[in-house]
């Protein structure tokens, strides 16, 4: 142990004397084409400060979070890591494993520039700020393939009901109506999108924020389950696993559509497709136009090495600068966390999102409202629901009510 400490100190001294050229290990789960391009922008900006971005990407959020948490709790922290802000990091902050970056936030004036302010609230615990939000991601998007609809001789739908009605004709034309990856988080996400779009907001909030089991058992929520059963039927033949493989089915016109967050946009961009011409995007499924403002944030573990800590500060400050925000979000297809920058180069879909954000048509993301434990239970429910057509709407809703009743 002692030798390691000495070596580390020696390294730190050498590093510090060579003008802050620090290697900072950054962990994240951005591995699809569009995501990798976006993270490349962050790395480029960080490298420009003279430090080096040591990329440690792990495919799949679930797997990545498991590795990150075990490294943090095991006393082997990385330089910085990506998390969805919200309740995932609660306990890590309580345990004092994460660095308080309030001073950086104040110096950079984050309180004034971050819009909507709920993003910064999600980073704040007892008045102290622990994370740097980098983007806004919204789930409520229906992506439709113009090619698939042209092949089937149909008009591209403009809302959820038209989309469901078009499913039989799509199937007849040999198209998959709905592309859906067979992973719990995607299936849960789809359900939450239906939930946000098809019933009034206060129902959504009393279930997920208020944890009100009576509302979860109501007829409003039953309508959402009925819509989920429609989606199940439309996705019967969808055998892909990863979300980007599902998006690829839409891009290549093999599937009619996909419900997926705005990160799917990055995949369309890489395939050089044009919004409005090759594909359509319907926020809030074309029913209730709104966005949930979840997103990604970077957290910084407490490190004992001063030079590394200085590099962390530089990275944190850099992430919210206008230039980084523009380059990063254009590549990722997400919305910037500050409302004061020019995104006129953004495409149709992003403009729609920006307009909704400006109008304040927003909902909190479920990750900000429920614990990972509850999220995992809901995921398991929908893994079962989507794999087994014999599970009735009533059964599924009864299980859902149970989960909400025991959630905290």
């Amino acid at each position: 142990m002692k030798l390691t400490t000495k070596l580390l100190t020696a390294t730190a001294i050498v590093a510090a004397s060579s003008a802050f050229a620090e290697d900072l290990e950054v962990m994240h789960w951005w591995t699809s084409g569009g995501e990798a391009a976006a993270v490349g922008e962050l790395a480029k900006a960080f490298d420009a400060t003279g430090n080096t971005w040591k990329d440690a990407a792990i495919a799949g959020g679930d797997a990545a979070r498991a590795v990150m948490v075990s490294r943090l709790t095991g006393g082997d922290p990385m330089g910085a890591f990506q998390f969805n802000h919200g309740r995932q990091a609660e306990e890590l902050i309580e345990a004092g494993l994460l660095r308080d970056i309030t001073d950086i936030a104040q110096a950079e004036g984050w309180a004034d520039i971050v819009n909507p302010s709920s993003l910064l609230d999600s980073c704040t615990v007892e008045g102290r700020i622990y994370c740097a939000p980098v983007n806004i991601h919204s789930w409520q998007w229906l992506w439709l393939s113009h090619a698939a609809y042209a092949d089937a001789g149909l008009e591209v739908p403009t809302n959820w009901d038209e989309y469901v009605a078009s499913a039989p004709a799509l199937t007849e034309a040999g198209k998959l109506p709905l592309a859906l990856g067979q992973q719990g988080w995607q299936q849960r996400g789809l359900f939450n999108v239906l939930f946000a779009a098809l019933v009034p907001n206060d129902v959504f909030l009393s279930v997920y924020d208020g944890k009100d089991a009576d509302v979860a058992a109501s007829a409003d929520v039953a309508r959402v389950f009925a819509a989920a059963a429609d989606a199940r039927e439309m996705a019967t033949n969808s055998k892909v696993q990863n979300w980007n493989d599902a998006t690829n089915l839409v891009i290549t016109g093999q599937a009619g559509g996909q419900i997926m967050g705005d990160w799917a946009q990055g995949e369309f961009a890489i395939a050089e497709q044009v919004a409005g011409k090759d594909y359509s995007c319907l926020p809030g499924l074309g029913v209730t136009e709104l966005l949930s403002t979840g997103g990604d944030a970077f957290y910084f573990p407490v490190l004992s090495d001063d030079a590394q800590t200085a590099a962390q500060s530089e990275l944190a400050a850099l992430m919210l600068r206008p230039a980084t925000q523009v380059a990063f979000n254009l590549a990722k297809g997400s919305l910037p966390v500050r409302g004061d920058i020019d995104l006129s180069t953004a495409n149709d879909c992003m403009q729609k999102g920006l307009a909704l954000l400006a109008d304040g048509a927003i909902l909190p993301d479920t990750a900000q409202l429920i614990t990972p434990d509850t999220a995992e239970q809901i995921s398991t429910l929908f893994i079962e629901f989507f794999a087994d057509a014999s599970i009735t709407i009533e059964d599924a809703q009864a299980q859902f009510v149970n989960i909400i009743a025991t959630a905290e």
Binding site: R65, Q182, P372, D373, A375, E376, A387, D388
Partner: protein, 297 residues
């Protein structure tokens, strides 16, 4: 005699000293870790362990969770089938090889080879073989049997048997080698005597040879059963627990709870239940096998 007997504690001093590190490891890591896990299974530990007692809440939730019940059922199906089939197949293969055949070394190596592959590789290989679009189904349809259907991994009712096929493929080679070693340990005179008495070969195997191979069977049983209880990587590589939750197993439930749901308490409760199940089987059996009369014949 009893008065001159040296103190038992100081006999074979050097070998006892040599065993100390292992004893310490066993006590602290295994026993200590086990006790710690059991204690924390009564707490409300989330992402990090914390001593906030909730009594039996975690266990109540565990036994009310469908995923856990499915996992237990799958382990029972997989375990029983695996145990029976791997022993039958392994023994038959060993008996066949024991007929003084040619190229014995080659055949033995070929059959043992799957065991050298990790469960992850095994799982992926069988995922492809059982995939209807490029696996067995496609090949048979290519031969002209157009209606042939064989896609166990896509049918929730039988998916666990798809995993079982891979498990047997991987495990039967090891059982064969162990059995073969047992067969080779049988004195040739026993065979000669049975032939003189005019006993048919199959009868000789069942009524004479197998009872004589009891120690080998016990060793093999322990190896196979531990392999069954801890099954995790094969499932993750081959099916990921799907379709739906039809191939979930207890070890995967523990992992999912601890590292994805950030609910350590629930994971500890599940692993404690796994330990209890194993203990319920192993302890009575150990007493029967090794306790009681010291001289068995």
């Amino acid at each position: 005699m009893s008065s001159t007997r040296p103190n038992q504690l100081f006999r074979n001093k050097s070998s006892k000293i040599a065993a100390i590190p292992m004893i310490v490891t066993a006590l602290f890591v295994f026993v200590g870790g086990t006790i710690w896990t059991v204690v924390y299974s009564f707490t409300k530990s989330g992402l990090l362990p914390r001593l906030q007692w909730v009594g039996l809440d975690q266990y109540e939730r565990l036994w009310a969770t469908r995923k856990w019940l499915v996992a237990i059922e799958n382990l029972a199906i997989y375990g029983l089938c695996m145990l029976v089939l791997v022993f039958v197949i392994g023994f038959i293969l060993a008996a066949l090889i024991d007929q003084k055949i040619r190229f014995e070394d080659t055949i033995r190596t070929v059959i043992l080879y799957p065991y050298a592959l990790s469960f992850v590789v095994t799982g992926l290989v069988w995922q492809w073989i059982l995939n209807p679009e490029f696996g067995v189904q496609n090949v048979v349809r290519g031969w002209g049997w157009k209606s042939f259907t064989f896609d166990p991994l896509y049918n929730a009712d039988i998916a666990i048997y798809g995993v079982l096929i891979a498990g047997i493929w991987q495990g039967s080679g090891l059982v064969m080698v162990l059995m073969l070693a047992g067969l080779r340990g049988i004195d040739q005179d026993v065979w000669k005597a049975s032939r003189v008495d005019g006993i048919p070969t199959w009868k000789a195997y069942i009524f004479i040879i197998i009872p004589m191979m009891r120690p080998v069977f016990v060793t093999t049983l322990v190896i196979v059963v531990t392999g069954i209880v801890k099954i995790y990587d094969l499932i993750v590589a081959q099916t990921g627990g799907g379709p739906g939750i039809s191939t979930e197993v207890p070890a995967k439930y523990v992992y999912d709870m601890m590292f994805q749901a950030n609910n350590l308490g629930q994971g500890f409760a599940a692993s404690t239940m796994m330990l209890v199940t194993v203990a319920l089987i192993v302890i009575p059996w150990t007493i029967l096998e090794f306790g009681g009369s010291k001289h068995r014949d």
